[in-house]
């Protein structure tokens, strides 16, 4: 009986800690919405373009104006779907696009996923620019297999200033999209 009491105590501790750890994990927020995905399937090198809806609240706008760069991580994954076996990743590609305010020149600089830089005097235009992702290229060998394309966009917290990275309790910086799935 005493043994079971101890076991139950350990189980309680583990459950409580798991709950706490879960609270510390990145939350599955849906602040980024991927839409209008167009995949050019005709060539070996495939091209994707899509639009996004990102809810930039006042805190984020203020952060951008204070010179904090926001880097968004686009994760592209081509997976093989099987009814029997677990999903197998065929290709994984990670690209970044970024918005940053240059205080000296008073411009918003956008760097797209291909490394092209554009500068805008006004933030609205800069945001309009980053909401469109174009020319995301990828290629894989076999066109005849049953593949799926998984797309995900998230704010890369690791490129934020360190105090903001560590502040796990501020949910402002947990920007993530749902997994957008497309048949190839």
């Amino acid at each position: 009986m005493h043994f079971f009491k101890r076991i139950s105590l350990i189980i309680i501790i583990i459950i409580v800690s798991l709950v706490i750890m879960d609270r510390l994990r990145d939350s599955e927020s849906n602040e980024i919405l991927i839409k209008d995905v167009v995949i050019d399937n005709n060539k070996d090198v495939k091209t994707i373009k899509f639009n996004q809806e990102i809810n930039f609240d006042s805190l984020i706008i203020k952060a951008i104006e204070k010179g904090i760069p926001l880097a968004f991580k686009v994760t592209l994954r081509v997976v093989e779907i099987s009814d029997i076996w677990p999903t197998k990743t065929i290709l994984k590609k990670v690209e970044y696009y970024q918005i940053e305010y240059k205080t000296l020149r008073k411009v918003y600089r956008i760097e797209d996923i291909n490394g092209n830089k554009n500068e805008y005097k006004y933030i609205d235009k800069a945001i309009q620019k980053i909401l469109k992702v174009e020319d995301l290229k990828f290629s894989f060998i076999d066109n005849n297999m049953n593949y799926e394309l998984w797309l995900n966009v998230a704010l890369d917290r690791k490129k934020l200033p360190k105090p903001l990275q560590v502040n796990y309790f501020d949910r402002t910086w947990y920007m993530n999209s749902n997994k957008s799935i497309h048949q190839l």
């Binding site: 501790i13 000296l104 903001l164």
Partner: protein
Amino acid sequence: MKYIITTAAFIGIALLILLAKAISNSDLISSDSFRILLGLNIFFICSLIILIAVQIFRLLQSIKKEITGSRLTLRLVLSFALMGIVPVLIVYLVSVNFLTKSIESWFDVKVESALEGGLTLGQKTIDILMSDIELKGRSIAYSIGNADTEQRNNILTDLRAKFGIQDAVIFDQDSKIIEVSSEKNNLIPSIPNIEDLKRGGEDFFGRIEEIKGKEIYLKAFIPIISKTLTSERLILQLTQPIPPSIANLALSVESVYDEYQQLTYSRNSLKIIYILTLTLVLLLALLSSVAASFVISRRFSSPLAMLADATRQISKGNYKKIISEQGKDEIGVLISSFNSMTSQLEEATKNSEKNRERLEVARTFLETILAHLTTGVIVVNDKKIIQLNNVSASKMLQNKENKMNDMAMNKIISNKSLFEPLYKFFETYIDDNKKNKKEISQEFRLKKDKQERTIMLQITPLRDKNSTKYVLVIDDISEVTQAQRHSAWGEIARRLAHEIKNPLTPIQLSAERIQHKFSNKLNKEDSIILERSTKTIVNQVNALKVMVNEFAEYARPPKIQKDKIRIDNLVDEVIELYEINKLISIKKDKNIPFIYADQNKLRQVIINLIENSQDALKDIKKPKIKIFIRKKVNEVELIIEDNGIGIPDEIIGRIFEPYVTSKKTGTGLGLAIVHKIIEEHDGKIKIEKINTSGTRVLIKFKSEINNRHG
């Protein structure tokens, strides 16, 4: 439990160190390991909270069950916890306040203003340079617009060199290079994007470009308006580097300003993370100290609890409780002394128990003796309260209950008139204030139911330091005195028989001889007188002989020959001898057991008693003699009753004494001899009056147990 808490304390310290290191290391702080570390700390804190909660619950349960030492443990835990919590809380509050103020102090208004001023200065400088290049650009564009196509290149080169511009390029609307002039003879200029060209085709458009954060270039786009009014739309692009000294300073100010702004923005996060770390440290320290306080408290209270428990056990009489040794400190010495004391107590208790047992044995022995004593023994204190008595005393004093402890002597005795002389004697003795009173004894003749009893009362004082007690020994010596009296009578009878019997025969012979010799010699009258006198002498001598024989019988030494007889048969045999046997009725139980007795002596007894009854029935109208023979437990009873005149009250108490008789002609030795014979048979005889008249004689014999039936 103590191992868990010790392990937990070590883990807590390790986690704290790791957390502190992580906070000071900016690379670590941003990594996932910091998050894991933070999670581990929180997990550990939760574990500690649960551990402490369990401990508190157990402690409260112990207090509820009134387990020894639990209250002391609670008090110690509270004390230790308070000792830890108060200073740690103070340090925590001061640290949080200090930290918050320190972080706030980083963001000084003056610093911010200075940085903004520096940045504005840089911006203004760049604006001035941009205005300068705009003027120069417009001038070049104007000159080229008014020049012929063949002269464009020369004018462009001249003016570029004149204005000190590094690169000058003319594009058409399709980004096609029309003319190029470069200070460094760079014939492949950088191609602007379409958007820039588009904006530059409309009006002046300047932009600043950074190359790897080291150099800043001013890039100006100016539309060229041709005088020839052709549809060709040309755009002049001028590229001019900002002097490195200005560029470096401007970039440096921008960089610092950006960092400062970022820091300002994230200061709340900074505060949160530092306060979080401090709070974790506080919680770890507090909870560890509370958890440790349980271990320390138990360590302190455990030996004291054991001592308390052992004391309780000892108070209940368990002297075998030994506490295990607890080191060599003061508590260890205390426990050692306690164990020593317990051993001594156990030894003393054993001795005491032995003594008590001995006393108990002695007391039981004394009680047994007292209980079996026929002599009454009473112990009375100086307030005349009975402290102790035996059964015989209770019976003698005719008390219903055997135990008379704590009863007043006067209540036992004074309300019984029979014992009044005894009580007066006792009271006089007790109330006498003489010191060193000596032992005293006195004989009392007490009459009860017309029977006289001789009681000997002996009072012995027992003195101790504080009080005096008195031992009253009450002895019924009636039988002793009676036996003494019988013995005395026996001696008298023996002497009388000896002294009187010897001269009787010579007297009788002499008288007969006188008659024989002188009857013929005397005249008739004298002869008659002689004959009558001689006859009287002979008769009297014969009477004396009968009396002397009876005395001799009474005084004879006990010499009986016992046989196994049945008393009922003997009674039947004796009754047949009497003519008056019709007066006699016999009732006897069946199967009367044998008795061991001298048949002749018992016959003498029965004859004597029947004759006594016969004598008592002489003047009675309806004389009756009833004989009962009854079988009792180990006894045979013989009862002879008559309805005669009975025995006078004055003599009934002494009826078995010689010469005590109610008959005019009797010697008074008959019942004395009967009594003697019955005593010689270890039997008992009792004579009592029946109601108004008549006498009942009750004789008891011991029956022969082994062979009851004949």
